[in-house]
Every structure is written in structure tokens, then in C-alpha cells.
Symmetry: none
Subunit: 254 residues, 2 copies
DNA sequence: GTCCCAAAGTTGTATATACAGGCTAGTACA
DNA sequence: TGTACTAGCCTGTATATACAACTTTGGGAC
């Protein structure tokens, strides 16, 4: 069965590899067609096809007369990274900071117990954090975690590693569900996120599963005037859409 | 500015045209590369590129040794349903109705012209509708359509066939982008959707492409207290996910 | 110094050619 | 009759070549 991959595909794999490994960063220059001809001993048309398809798939951007550059859109394509607001902010070249408001063991009640599929009164961890982008509050994270999945939860320093990053390391993501709502924030949310008068809140409610059971239930509030969710869809048939159709958070331009 | 389109693009447009017009039906055979060489006086590599890209974009399916065939677009139905609020409501077992508030030819300005990639002042269709679920207003649809894609737009009865359904029938969906925001509605939106005092609005802004060009730009406003977006992820590795990772509109339970 | 233009490098497209491999129908042969 | 094989068409890939258009850079004319 081992028919060798076509050479244009080998070129694509090579470049994708350098991008995922970090050897090539967003906006870095990718070898030109003629350089690939020399380096890889292929014809220019083969190099052209490889780079053109990488362009079509969003990995790189090509500018006639200038060159080929790594696009900054694809780099954070993993679903797990989408869950991590610190990476998201870092990818925009901004600085992330967070402040832990609460980190405690509680008894699950009502909506939380139902969402996590545990009995009323079961012990769960409760985390409350504010995330800042360039100093401005951008997300209020109100999260409950099933105790069994993360027994060390109270000892973690969530100002250096976000709860999302910590949880995906201790409980591999199997499935995720999210709900997006627009609401008027209550007083606490307004205060923590410095809402303007009458500003709406974009709320993402996310549940994740690992090993077939719910792990965490998070309510993520964002200021409506400074945050939006963007999604991209390419119908079946378009090559390599695995990451393109993931919904990811992106800050409003301006 | 009128530089002629590249020939491979002309070939693609020709075949896409025959498909949209119905001249070519699903599973029909598309002219082979060598036939296109004869008919269109191009080289085989040019014909190859046109057909290969149509294959990548899902318009046709190519089988080595047999030929090229029009694919049936059933696979896109998931997405089409997502775009069509009438189907969405019907799926919940509720009744859908809509009222056309505006159906006119306008000159694209500002944001609309930029979103549709047309010159300022280009003529576009403007549609404004309210959709009702069981008699309650549930979506205000504010849509602009590039005139070339749907010349019959003014004659359509959008109270019996939604704009979304009509558009996907005349311009096969190639790509979609959507942005979700939470805002405070202006007076017009409040009035048409019967907003309560201080209620937030969940806005979905969606652009779709066909044949490589933007087709339509829609702003869909929903009452924040009665609407939410739900999404579901399964990480790569689990069965093929075309429909699972599409964000779909769903009404709040309860 | 400033402006203009040419050169070099880049992508974008188009063509001619070649060979490999899949599929099918029809023919030759047992 | 039935089987095997081959000819012919199809797609898939790879190469060499050519020209066009765009961008940057540097050098020469003024």
C-alpha cells in the first residue's frame, strides 16, 4: 500500500510541519518557489502547486512581487487552544493577565449539579477569575469543576496557568458543548468587567466531557462592545477544513 | 480595472453556471479534460486545474479512469438548514411565518460595500424581514445581496420561501463566515422584535461566498431572552464531523 | 539631493509534453 | 460460452518553458 505521497504533498507537509513546530512563526517568510526548486529539487510548477494550495487552505498568504508568508489565522487552530483565553490573547500579540477572585470547594446546587450530572450537594471546585487583555478586563470566568478530575485544584496558581489549560492537561477533552447568549449583566459582572452603562454581555456557557463524564461547567462573560465570536465554515469537499470550521474567539478590531 | 479573468476561472464559471442553471444535474458527466482542450482551446493542464479546483470545492467528483461528475449537494443540507430559520423552526415542531418589510434595489455604501467586495454605490438588493415562531417575533433579518447572483430578487415572494433558501438555490454555497455579537438593540430592532425594556440582542452577522465571490451579507437580530446559539464539538479523531461542529441556532428550552 | 527608471526577484498564469495508474468495453482465444 | 487480455480513454502527477504583472531596490540622470 505504500505508494509514496506526491511531491507537492511532501512539500506541503514539510511547510506545515515547520509552522506547527514553531520553526516558522506568523508573518515569517516561507521559501519562495525558486528557492524550493533549488532546495528540494522539484520543478517550479510543483512548488507553485504546494504553495498555492497552502494559500487556499489558509496556512500562508501569498503576495505577488513580495513573497509567501505564514498566515496568523491558522496557527491557533486547535480546539483546545480556543478554550484558553491566554493563548488567544497572546496570539493577538497582546498581554494577558488574570486575577483569581475565588478558589474554593463548594456543594453543587441547582443548575451546576444538573450540568455536571452530580447529586445535589456533591463537592465541586468553584473558580472565579477575571482575565485582562492589555490591562482591560475582557472575560469573567465562573467555573465549576468535578472534584474527582482535578483533586489538586485548590493548590494551582491559576494566575500563571489558566484553568482551561490546567484542566485539559489533567482531563483530556473528549467532547464539548457550548451555548452563546446575549444578556444584560448583573451588578457583579458589570463591576468586574468595567461595563459601560447599558452595555450588553456576551456569555459563553461551556461544558466539557472527559472519559464519558462531565468535567467542568463554565460561564464566560464578555463585554459586548469589545468582544465577538467568529466562525468560519467551508462545506465538505474543501481540503483540510478541520480547523477552519472551529468557532474561535476573536477580539473586535479597533 | 477590467482585467480578464484567468482562463481556468472562466472554465470553472462556465461549469458552475451549467450546474446552477440545471443544465447539468447531479451525477451527470462533466466534459473531460481532453474534451475541454478541444472545445475551449486550452491546454490540458489548464482544464485540469479548473476541474481539480471544482473538485476541491465540492462541485464535482473526479474518478480516475472514469471521468468527472457533478456531485449532489445533499451533503450541504446541514448547513442549509442552519441558514434557514423556517426549517429550524419547523424542526422544533413550531409554526413559522414571516413578514417582508422591505425588498428593494439600493446602492451599497460603507460596511455593506466592503463586506460584499463591491465598489461604493454598486446596486445591491436590500431585504428586511421579521420571522415569527408560533406568532412571536424571533428574528429580524437585514440582508444585502449582490445583484448579479440573484437578478430575480425583487420578484420573489420571501414570505413563502425564505431568502436563505432562495439564495442557496441560485448560488451554491462555497464558504460562510459568521460573527456573533451581543448588543443593545436600537429602536427599530426593539420595535420589530417586541423587546422588553433593557433586553439585549444577539446578533449574527453572516457572509457567504459562491464561485469565489461574496454573495450576501446578513445581520440577524434575535431577542436575547428567547434565543441562544448552541454548538457541539467532537475533537478530531471521532467520526467525520461535518454537521457536528456547525454552530446552529436553537431556541432556549423551556 | 531628488526623481525616474531599469533590474532583479517574486507570484500568477498558460502551454506542451511525458509517464503512471485506474477503468471499461470489446476483441481474441480457448 | 466464457475468460483473459488489450486498446483506448480517463485522471493524477511532474517537468520545462514562457510571458505577464507586481514589488523592491539601487543606480543613474538631472
Amino acid at each position: 500500500m505504500n505508494t509514496a505521497k506526491p511531491r507537492y504533498q511532501q512539500l506541503k507537509d514539510l511547510i506545515i510541519g515547520r509552522i506547527s513546530s514553531g520553526e516558522l512563526s506568523p508573518n515569517d517568510r516561507v521559501p519562495s518557489e525558486n528557492e524550493l526548486v533549488e532546495l528540494m529539487s522539484v520543478s517550479r510548477m510543483t512548488a507553485n502547486r504546494a504553495l498555492r494550495e497552502l494559500n487556499d487552505e489558509g496556512y500562508v498568504e501569498r503576495i505577488a512581487g513580495r513573497g509567501t508568508f505564514v498566515s496568523d489565522f491558522r496557527s491557533q487552530s486547535h480546539l483546545l487552544e480556543v478554550h484558553n483565553i491566554a493563548d488567544e490573547i497572546a496570539q493577538r500579540g497582546h498581554s494577558h493577565a488574570s486575577k483569581v477572585l475565588r478558589q474554593s470547594l463548594q456543594h453543587a446546587r441547582g443548575e451546576v449539579a444538573r450540568a455536571l450530572h452530580v447529586e445535589q450537594g456533591t463537592e465541586v471546585f468553584h473558580l472565579l477569575l477575571v482575565h485582562f487583555e492589555n490591562g482591560a478586563p475582557i472575560q469573567l470566568e465562573d467555573r465549576h469543576v468535578v472534584a474527582g478530575f482535578a483533586p489538586e485544584c485548590l493548590e494551582q496558581d491559576f494566575e500563571s496557568v489558566t484553568p482551561s489549560a490546567y484542566l485539559t492537561s489533567v482531563a483530556p477533552l473528549q467532547e464539548a458543548e457550548q451555548v452563546v447568549r446575549a444578556t444584560l449583566p448583573n451588578a457583579a459582572v458589570r463591576k468586574h468587567l468595567n461595563f459601560e452603562e447599558g452595555e450588553a454581555s456576551l456569555v459563553v456557557i461551556r461544558r466539557t466531557w472527559s472519559a464519558g463524564r462531565p468535567v467542568t461547567f463554565a460561564r464566560l462573560h464578555h463585554p459586548g462592545s469589545r468582544y465577538e465570536l467568529t466562525g468560519h465554515y467551508t462545506p465538505p469537499g474543501t481540503p483540510r477544513s478541520t480547523s477552519a470550521d472551529v468557532v474561535q474567539l476573536e477580539k473586535l478590531r479597533q
